[in-house]
């Protein structure tokens, strides 16, 4: 993993499969007060990719009910349908196919096959199975997974376009629990690696980027902040600052101090 620093005039772009983006912050659309708050927060976040869930329409509901995609038009945002709620490979594949139809053939999906467990951790066996089917079926798969570097490597080998290990349980806001494993994943994968889930505040998003991640995906940290729109701005800046710090190359850590001001020519000393 060697850092190629973009020139001053060059953009630092981020590519997933056949798609290229400027923003490295991906955001979810759940848990907001209403669609208007969703729209404003996402605008403030600068995100280009937004995740959505696929659910049954309410039969018999008011036909004029507003629709999320009216607030986040697919011609402005890259809509990334997820498979949240699926606990088996079969359900996840089925959901992706519905999503592709819904989005007029758009084939970039976020695969997540969660265990039925309070951690909402992925079931990695089912995730691997689903990834195989989806890749064969022509999807460009961004896959939510545990921070197990071996599983991450297997998902890349299957053909996933981005691997997205969790930082901490979804919605917990606990911050990266195991930066070591994230670093191990980054050391070896060549597809983009994004931390998905677990970030609670801005500095934690910066930490993920400083490790060398290609991006961060979050939802709750913005949606459940006291002021979601202000937090969205904070996260936008945090991801940018972490990315820049990674590219800029941090100073070496030193076990002892090193003066910032020169220690010679001090007033009142006899010259040594």
């Amino acid at each position: 993993m060697s850092i190629v620093r973009p020139g001053a005039s060059e953009a630092d772009r981020f590519t997933v499969g056949s798609h290229t983006f400027n923003s490295r912050l991906l955001v979810g659309t759940g848990k907001y007060r209403d669609f208007e708050q969703t729209r404003l927060a996402i605008e403030a976040s600068g995100a280009e990719i937004v995740t959505v869930a696929i659910r049954r329409t309410n039969i018999g509901q008011n036909a004029d009910e507003p629709n999320l995609l009216d607030y986040l038009p697919p011609d402005k945002y890259t809509i990334l349908p997820n498979t949240a709620g699926c606990h088996t490979a079969k359900d996840a594949v089925r959901t992706c196919r519905l999503a592709r139809e819904l989005l007029d053939g758009w084939n970039l999906v976020k695969l997540e096959v969660l265990s039925e467990h309070k951690t909402l951790y992925p079931d990695v066996v089912e995730t691997l199975n689903a990834a195989e089917v989806l890749v064969r079926d022509g999807f460009e798969v961004m896959v939510y997974t545990s921070d197990d570097p071996i599983v991450a490597r297997q998902l890349e080998a299957i053909g996933c376009k981005a691997v997205m290990p969790l930082g901490a349980p979804i919605g917990s806001g606990l911050g990266l629990q195991n930066p070591y494993n994230i670093a191990m994943i980054l050391e070896e994968l060549t597809v983009p690696v994004l931390v998905d889930a677990g970030v609670g505040t801005a500095s934690e998003a910066a930490v993920a980027m400083e490790l060398g991640c290609d991006g961060v995906l979050m939802n709750t940290a913005i949606a459940l902040a006291e002021d979601p729109i202000m937090m969205a701005r904070a996260m936008r800046l945090a991801v940018e600052s972490g990315r820049l710090a990674y590219l800029a190359g941090r100073m070496p850590r030193r076990a002892h101090a090193s003066a910032s001001s020169p220690m010679d020519n001090l007033v009142g000393r006899r010259p040594g």
């Binding site: 979810g28 659309t29 759940g30 848990k31 907001y32 669609f35 969703t38 995740t51 959505v52 869930a53 696929i54 659910r55 049954r56 329409t57 039969i59 018999g60 036909a63 629709n67 999320l68 995609l69 809509i79 349908p81 997820n82 949240a84 089925r94 196919r97 519905l98 999503a99 592709r100 139809e101 819904l102 989005l103 979804i170 919605g171 889930a197 979050m218 939802n219 709750t220 949606a223």
Partner: protein
Amino acid sequence: MKTVDISVNGEACSMPADASVADLLAELKLAGRRIAVELNENIVPKSSYAQTRLATGDQLEIVHAIGGG
């Protein structure tokens, strides 16, 4: 008049005997909205709504995008 008994999103429902998916969507006031339809676990492309006939026992899923993370 003859009808077909189908299930839509897990709920029982009946439609006239020669109804198409397009008819169902019109009935549900979902025509033209951003949705996707699955019939017996197979996707029904938008372009086939009109010619896809419903039969008794059909299981339909009609989905849309909602907020999610």
